[in-house]
C-alpha cells in the first residue's frame, strides 16, 4: 500500500477507471475529446485510451466548472486562461461575473414565473368550479 500514491501517478488508467475517478461518464469523456475540450490521450497496443494524472485533473476541472453552470464554451475559455497565470486572473473574474449576471437574470425570471403560476394555482379550486382559471389565462375559450 506504500506504493498506491506512486502507482496512481505512474500507471496509466483506462477510460472506465478515469470515469469513476472523475465522476464523468465514459461517453462524455469521449465526447469531450471529440470536441477538443481534452486532448486525445495516447493509446495502448489495442487502441485503448490511456489516461494519466494530468487528464484526470483537467476532467475534474471541467466537471466542477460545469457544476457551476459554465457552458462548455466558457469552460474552454477558462481552460485556455488556466495555463498562463498572474495576468489572467482578471479575465477569469470577468468571465465569472458575467456568468453570475446571467444566473441572476435566470433567477429573476423563474421567480416571476413561480409567482404567476402560484397565483393561478391558488385561484384554481380543483373540480369544484367549472371554469378553470389556469386554462382561462392560457387563452382557452372552452
Amino acid at each position: 500500500m506504500a506504493y498506491s500514491h506512486t502507482r496512481s501517478r505512474a500507471t496509466p488508467a483506462a477510460i472506465g477507471a478515469l470515469s469513476e475517478r472523475t465522476g464523468v461518464k465514459i461517453e462524455t469523456i469521449r465526447y469531450y475529446e471529440r470536441i477538443g475540450l481534452i486532448p486525445a490521450p495516447p493509446r495502448s497496443e489495442g487502441r485503448r485510451r490511456l489516461y494519466d494524472e494530468t487528464h484526470r485533473q483537467r476532467l475534474v476541472f471541467i466537471r466542477r466548472a460545469r457544476e457551476l453552470g459554465f457552458s462548455l464554451e466558457n469552460v474552454r475559455r477558462l481552460l485556455g486562461l488556466s495555463g498562463r497565470h498572474t495576468q489572467t486572473c482578471g479575465e477569469v473574474k470577468a468571465l465569472a461575473q458575467h456568468h453570475i449576471g446571467e444566473i441572476r437574470t435566470k433567477i429573476r425570471n423563474l421567480k416571476r414565473l413561480e409567482r404567476t403560476l402560484s397565483e393561478l394555482a391558488a385561484r384554481c379550486q380543483g373540480d369544484a368550479v367549472p371554469e378553470c382559471p389556469i386554462l382561462k389565462t392560457l387563452g382557452n375559450v372552452r
Copy 2:
C-alpha cells in the same frame, strides 16, 4: 370598418399573418404542426396553409403556456385537458403545481450556484494576486 370583426373571423389567414398575430415564428408554427401540437390546416389551391380563428387561439394558448415554462410535452397535456372541462380542472392544477415544484428546485439550485460563484469572485482580486481562487477551486494545479 364595421366589417373588421366579421372579416377576421371569416377570412383565413396565411402563415405570416398568423405568426404576427400570435407572436409565434413561422418556422415554429410549421414545427408545431410537424410534431402534431397543432392540427394541419386546410390549404389554398397553391398548397399554402390557411388558418382561422381556432388555430390562432390554440397557438396563443401554446405560446402563453411556453412563457410559463411548460414543456411541449406538458403543453400537449394541457391542450388535451382543455377540451373537456369541469372534471379536468383538478388535473390542470396538479400539472401546474408539479411544474411550480420544478421551478422552485431550479431557483434553489441557481441560488446556491450564485452564492458559490459570488464568493469565489469576491476572493479573486483581479491581477493583483498570482493565485486565482477561482481557477484553484476548479481544481487547477497550475
